[in-house]
Symmetry: D2
Subunit: 323 residues, 4 copies
């Protein structure tokens, strides 16, 4: 991110636990510091401090900054914090006149090159002040087609950054963004799984093993679908084309059977928090919840439940599903 | 089932691949035979032939019976056939004047003692003719409380057997019965899984491993819930009391950690067929489908999908979830 | 509940906003009071105060009792509070030496007659002291069959009440109980919906309207299933028999088409809280969540999402799904 | 489609129920005919007949063509037929030496301009013969970035068309494509619904009505999120960018509250067929099924189930949820 800011002509004062990371920034014109305290002292007021640290560290840094900063300074949390923490932290900084801005950033490891999509929460004053920063980090219009009917110059969303509302709104929108991401990923994953199993009729007349119901029509499932080519063809002109599909095409080209992966899928906080928000709001989220729960199950978290199903089956049917 | 029929005074002519099974019936007064042909020859017209064989065998037996039986005879399929097969088989037997009756039976290994709950499809004539058989197999009123408002003598449902409609209706109702059974089982299994994990806050401050989001409030999950006792207490006066809960209480009493079970859960055809019917009808079945799919997942059938999720995550985030 | 306590010989001092309710208790031997303060003053130490008020009122009452009670007294919350509130309230009362006991009660309007299933959280000391109260409120063994393999005298669960763990454990178990209840109810509801639509093939050759895919095999859906009789027959000997099914049989007997109901289903907090707990624990709850979300949807909370689906369909397909 | 073929230099002989449609093609150089029979007679052998008719009409046309065509001719079904019908039709045409090719096409109303993404099933011989046709209809590489690691000239998928396998494979892949489309659409719809309700805390302190649990923290839901701008910003650099999101941005720009839509969402056959295939294969599809079922529910198909839930609640709780 510092690289993008420097290219756009911003002066940056940096602190990082990694000397190497700072040295890289110094080559681009940044000022290196030895601690948070040192960094704060080298910035001119009003200071804008962009935190880009793991969620678990944010609290400590914000508490420290509270003691170092002055009225008119701005703390920006660009990580993946829970928006409810934004609300609390903002309230704690407010009495000292320190502004708090939360920025959800999307783009993954590709962001440095493509630019970062920024979802921003904070006061109008602070967000307006920081506008040049956001503009430099965001992708800009690029060669993406203009939305039909959109008047020229209607806000910054076309540039890839958006002031979503007061404090917390940035991380709230980013949270839901990730919830949607989980759902889309699961839609592709389930679909490719169906294509992957489309040759099931070739396997022993469809009777895979004693655990499954015999297939009534094995002749309907005799297809060896070329999965990497399907991902590729869908990239052009189909309704399901997307950036996630572009990545899927790369992944399947590298390895159609995905042999290097273990099938245990992590989930970061945002997916879960999206569900909590939906439940509070009373909004049904059958798809988003299924995509989160399938990750829990992928890590073995359904095992006790499944054992209990087997135990019930044993009790009423006498058939033991052992280890 | 023969035992229950004999106790009720019915004369039975039996054929079984197992001599031992037949011998047991002979002691109770049945006539033993050496083949299906022999069995048919030893029955007096109009014959009622009760098939109790695996679904995969029914077809062969019905085709054989078609050549052996005469007008007025009745074939009864008491197994777990797909009702759509009933419709076809019935149509094939109809030109010869042979009746076809389908009977879904519930009760598991406990049926011999408790009686079998019977869901029956077929013509009025055939089902009325067979009524004494059904009455003998069914549990009867027993000591189960009368449904409030139910007039005395209103049909046979109180006796535990029901003529549900024309051919196929018996297996249709049994199919949906099993679909509901899957859903109820999953409801208990998920609930006990939540109780089972209620002490997660005690484990390393709630941070189980790098794959999961840190628990924000470990102090909320410090409970070691006595699962077998919970199952027991719910049996008395709670809204979730049921026969499946009675079985769960037995299973958890035997082994609270269910160590003998592997967590791979089979599914028989009925659960799947229930979903197919719902999809044809356009009826939403979020719960019943989730209960079937969780069994698929328990057997590793989500693995390819999960690997693809990891592959996408690697492509946009650079984090590899290996084996 | 006072009635059950009086019958068992307990002296009760009561306060209720309703004079009529108190008068009924006085006839049974209770002492009537004019306020919470009056009630506290008329009880002998150590006092046991059983709160049975809406969740929204509990907080106010507990804060009041904190000022009125002394060391060794016990506050019992018998309502449907969130267990996380129990933890907080208990911590607030602890410095004054006041014990806090949470009791989840199940049984609905039938509890007075059948007895209440009690799930209890609190210290060993307090729960042991209150044992006679719990025993009197609970259903007792009744004529429910003993769980196979259960030794005589193994705890109180057989009596219908259970000390589940420290403060909060009672409401935690009750919360999950209600989560399971939602799942079971949805399993029955979806199953009966499939049976209800089993005659869809009779309707205009299966083509109900332009909005749905034509049915490929209308001849498979020609059944008019007698729903009240199906509920009745399943009560005897089937795997899905339960108390909820008993109630379903009553409801369908009264009105097979359920014409008096609007189809908008409320949800109390427990179903949602169950999901929150599962998400915190990382436990998949596909069935329980689907049952909660279907209630949200029944109240129109999916409407905006559905409109957006129509809007997307219009954009890529040109077909407008208007009002 | 004829327009795209003519532009690429193909001679077309056309028949359509609409004279106007044919006249437009004639202006582009096509030959007009008066009937299917006339069309067949005006084509030189080996003939390639592309059917683009509603699924319900395909059967009649194929049966007619069976009587008109000769060995070496090819019938192409470019509509949305069920792949199982392809298998049957192909088998019926095979004895006459007539080839059958199924083509799933994606692109909606935008296809004429963008080109059609084509998923093709059939024999190598027939598909190779038709390659120039497919190349002309497909979008071509366009300005879409090459998939990283993909060797130049690796098959036709980069051109936007793909021979997926033997007969039926084209419609099979298209079917799953649509299943994924449903899942993605639902992911966006649920996510925007959460954003839409993010101001729920402003409404009467969060207590919307008696039917819902009071919101514990209304202060967490005070956001008026600008939905059209969120859709726009996500189009640039975010992980959830896609063509469906582009369309969503257009729709929300036109009408943020989507007031013209009624919220009843149709489903075509492919979504349902995708579920049937997954169930046959034993592959879990929690997300894809939820997206189909939510459409069923949007059309009121959950109503009977919901009424039954209310009826059960009335039976055990005494609270009536009327009309």
């Amino acid at each position: 991110m510092v690289t993008r800011l420097q290219k756009a002509g911003h002066d940056c004062v940096v602190f990082d636990m990694s000397e190497a990371a700072m040295d890289k920034s110094v080559q681009g014109g940044s000022t290196k510091t030895s601690s948070i305290e040192d960094m704060v002292s080298k910035l001119q007021a009003p200071r804008a401090i962009w935190l880009m640290v793991p969620a678990a560290i944010v609290e400590k840094e914000v508490q420290l900054l509270k003691t170092l900063l002055s009225e008119g300074d701005i703390v920006i949390d660009g990580g993946n914090s829970y928006y409810i923490d934004d609300l609390r932290r903002s309230a704690e900084l407010a009495p000292s006149g320190i502004e708090y801005v939360d920025v959800g950033t999307s783009g993954g490891v590709w962001g440095a090159e493509r630019g970062y999509c920024l979802m921003i929460g904070g006061s109008d004053k602070a967000v307006t002040y920081l506008d040049p920063i956001f503009k430099s980090l965001a992708p800009g219009k690029g060669d993406i087609e203009t939305t039909a009917g959109r008047p020229a110059g209607k806000g910054t969303a076309e540039e890839g950054y958006l002031h979503c509302g007061p404090v917390g709104a940035g991380h709230f929108v980013k949270m839901v963004h990730n919830g949607i991401e989980y759902g889309m990923m699961a839609a592709y994953a389930e679909g490719f799984n169906i294509l992957h199993a489309a040759n099931i009729g070739k396997k022993e007349g469809g009777k895979i093993d004693a655990e499954t119901t015999p297939l009534r029509n094995p002749e309907h499932y005799m297809y060896d679908i070329p999965l990497p080519e399907v991902a590729e063809v869908w990239r052009r002109g189909s309704v399901v084309s997307s950036w996630l599909l572009d990545l899927t095409a790369i992944a399947l080209l590298e390895s159609p059977d995905l042999a290097d992966y273990g099938g245990r899928v992590s989930d970061s906080g945002e997916g879960r928090w999206t569900l909590l928000a939906a439940i509070d709001e009373g909004v049904p989220v059958d798809v988003l919840s299924a995509s989160v729960f399938s990750r829990f199950s992928s890590r073995g978290e359904a095992t006790y439940a499944n054992k209990l199903l087997s135990a019930m089956r044993f009790q009423f049917g006498g058939h033991k599903e052992g280890k």
